[in-house]
């Protein structure tokens, strides 16, 4: 019965991925990434259950911590650029191209 969870995690991952592609606001984009990470977590836990060992669940904790660290860095960067540009749209930052 673990397949459902897997499907769900896959869905979440894809939703997250598509979100990154379609949303403009840097914060939202970043949240989509977080969503993808959580999809991974779900998959880990599911597989842990399936494989009958705890590794997956432990990994999930690791991932949360890493995610948290990412948030710190990410927000810092996004805030700085928001302050300079007065906009959090990722489409506004394209001086670097070609």
């Amino acid at each position: 019965m673990t397949t459902h969870y897997l499907v769900l995690s896959a869905l979440l991952f894809v939703i997250g991925g598509v979100g990154v592609l379609v949303r403009r606001n840097a914060i939202v984009v970043f949240m989509c990434v977080e969503l993808m990470l959580n999809a991974c977590n779900l998959a880990f836990v599911t597989f842990a259950r399936q494989n009958g060992n705890l590794d997956g669940q432990i990994i999930a904790f690791f991932v949360m911590i890493v995610a948290a660290a990412e948030v710190v860095i990410g927000l810092a960067i996004i805030v700085t650029i928001f302050r300079t540009r007065r906009s959090a749209s990722v489409d506004d930052v394209n001086l670097l191209k070609y």
């Binding site: 993808m36 990470l37 890493v66 960067i77 930052v93």
Partner: protein, 515 residues
């Protein structure tokens, strides 16, 4: 097991180099917290350099005291021949990059201040600097050390983040052209996070497939487990996405030009040398140890990726006008050449030669590229580095030595004999031909012929065209000078007497990765 908990065994000795670096990083943080502002940088500089040097010494010492044959730290970290070689390389390159970082004028006075605001003016006038740069760099280096040595995917993931997160920040700290710098940071961060999500999901799937994230176990389970190929293939592919992104292989190369161009040049140097080396280490470990049994299925894919990468890098570089951006594309192309080595896989001995070839190439390329970026920092305009190629016109007349050295690096990139780049390419191509990948090699040489064009173009600018009236000035701070000298030396020596390093790489690669 009877209820008693066994404490994990950690071989601190083996991990010492990494621990030293991380320790120094943490001390650095404490310094930031407690030491008075005016003292900080004078504490940081020696601390950073010493820790790196110390780590290097420890690495050497370890290599001499026998290469361990089994993973350390309960199989989480594999301190084996390749790992030690890569550590050594990364540590030296990091040391050199730190020398670049030490020189003034690369980093923003106050990152939080809005560009052009009164606040920034004040920060500038106070001569404030972000000494956090040092601990951040150390953390990044620590991550680089762990990344190629990680023996299970979790450790690798953590290492990936530890390596990347500080770099995201560092990218945004350029003193000049701050908008670009911040933009680089945002792009690198978002895309990096995005790709690491792929890496993680791949890990999850492989965990699901093999029931473990331990590379060796995954490798062992390849044949054993049946009927789960879907998990395996998707998992492996997504893992690949994460790793290929880090080395900037097409079609995941998009971030590289932007980030290299926007970041402070010393950081670019660090990324272009250290990160690339580390990422390749990890890539090799994953694909050879975990997915080695799957080689028949991923070699064709790698062929495609390699070709695409070489061609994209070479072709797109031709029309670049920003020196750093051009070097970024060139580094993409070199990534492609290195990938040729990755597919030059076969029997034990073949793998060894391919691996040693790659290791040599990484050393050669790392030094040359650091040197090149070091030179880039020295050619300055009123507005910071003279980034536009046209500004380099006639440099050969105004500053022959600088121009000659830079030209020499470019020739090394182009792979002209008697430079390190040549033997690097040669070794990899040789391995590939032995493995029967001759067509790939042909593509390789053709694209390096194309690539030669834009290296040569810069030389033409520097030597054959006359200098502009208000040409850029050349400022060579002590650290940069040392870096240039060191890189030149390395490029020459590896180009004329490569044998010692080849031997080193060979011994390192002899026993391949431990399982």
């Amino acid at each position: 097991m009877n209820g008693t908990i066994q404490a994990p065994t950690i071989e601190y000795g083996l991990l010492a180099p990494m621990l030293v670096v991380f320790g120094a990083a943490i001390i650095g943080v404490l310094v930031e917290a407690f030491a008075p502002r005016y003292l900080r940088s004078s504490i940081h500089k020696p601390l950073t350099l010493l820790s790196l040097a110390g780590a290097f010494v420890l690495t050497i010492w370890q290599a001499r005291s026998g290469i361990p044959t089994k993973p350390a730290a309960m199989g989480a970290v594999a301190v084996d021949g390749p790992a030690l070689f890569i550590w050594g390389t990364i540590l030296v390159l990091a040391f050199v990059s730190v020398l670049l970082i030490n020189d003034e004028g690369h980093f923003v006075a106050s990152a939080s201040a809005v560009p052009g605001s009164a606040e920034e003016e004040r920060a500038l006038s106070e001569g404030a600097t972000h000494t956090e740069v040092y601990p951040l760099a150390l953390f990044a280096v620590g991550g680089m050390l762990l990344f190629p040595a990680a023996n299970d995917l979790l450790a690798m993931f953590v290492a990936l983040e530890v390596m990347s997160l500080p770099l995201y920040l560092l990218c945004g700290l350029a003193r000049r052209r701050r908008l670009l710098s911040q933009e680089a940071a945002v792009k690198y961060f978002l895309l990096g996070a995005f790709s690491s999500a792929f890496f993680l999901y791949g890990t999850a799937l492989l965990y699901g497939y093999a029931g473990s994230v331990d590379l060796a176990k995954i490798g062992a389970s390849l044949g054993a487990v049946g009927g789960q190929d879907t998990l395996l293939y998707i998992g492996a592919a997504m893992l690949g996405v994460g790793l290929l992104f880090k080395i900037g292989a097409a079609p995941f190369q998009a971030w590289k030009p932007d980030v290299y161009q926007g970041s402070p040049t010393p950081i670019t140097a660090l990324m272009a040398s250290g990160t690339l080396v580390a990422a390749f280490g990890a890539l090799l470990r994953v694909f050879w140890v975990a997915l080695g049994g799957l080689e028949w299925s991923w070699t064709p894919i790698m062929w495609g990726v390699a070709i695409l990468t070489m061609v994209t890098g070479a072709i797109l570089a031709i029309t670049q006008t920003d020196i750093k951006r051009m070097l970024a594309y060139s580094s993409i192309a070199h990534g492609g050449f290195l990938l040729i080595g990755v597919v030059a896989i076969g029997n034990q001995q073949q793998n060894a030669s391919a691996l040693s070839a790659l290791l040599f190439y990484l050393v050669a390329y790392g030094f040359t590229t650091v040197g090149a970026f070091a030179i880039v920092t020295t050619v300055r305009d009123a507005g910071g580095e003279a980034w536009h190629l046209s500004r380099w016109a006639g440099l050969g007349k105004r500053r022959p030595l600088v121009a000659t050295v830079f030209a020499f690096f470019l020739l090394a990139f182009a792979g002209i004999p008697l430079t390190s780049g040549f033997f690097g390419k040669y070794a990899v191509f040789q391995a590939a031909v032995d493995a029967g990948a001759t067509p790939l090699v042909v593509v390789g040489v053709v694209s390096s012929a194309v690539a030669a064009f834009f290296y040569v173009r810069v030389i033409v600018l520097m030597f054959f065209s006359d200098p502009a009236a208000d040409g850029p000035s050349v400022v060579i701070p002590g650290g940069t000078w040392a870096v240039g000298a060191l890189a030149t030396l390395a490029t020459v020596v590896l180009g004329v007497f490569p044998q010692p390093v080849l031997d080193l790489a060979h011994t390192a690669a002899q026993s391949l990765f431990v399982r």
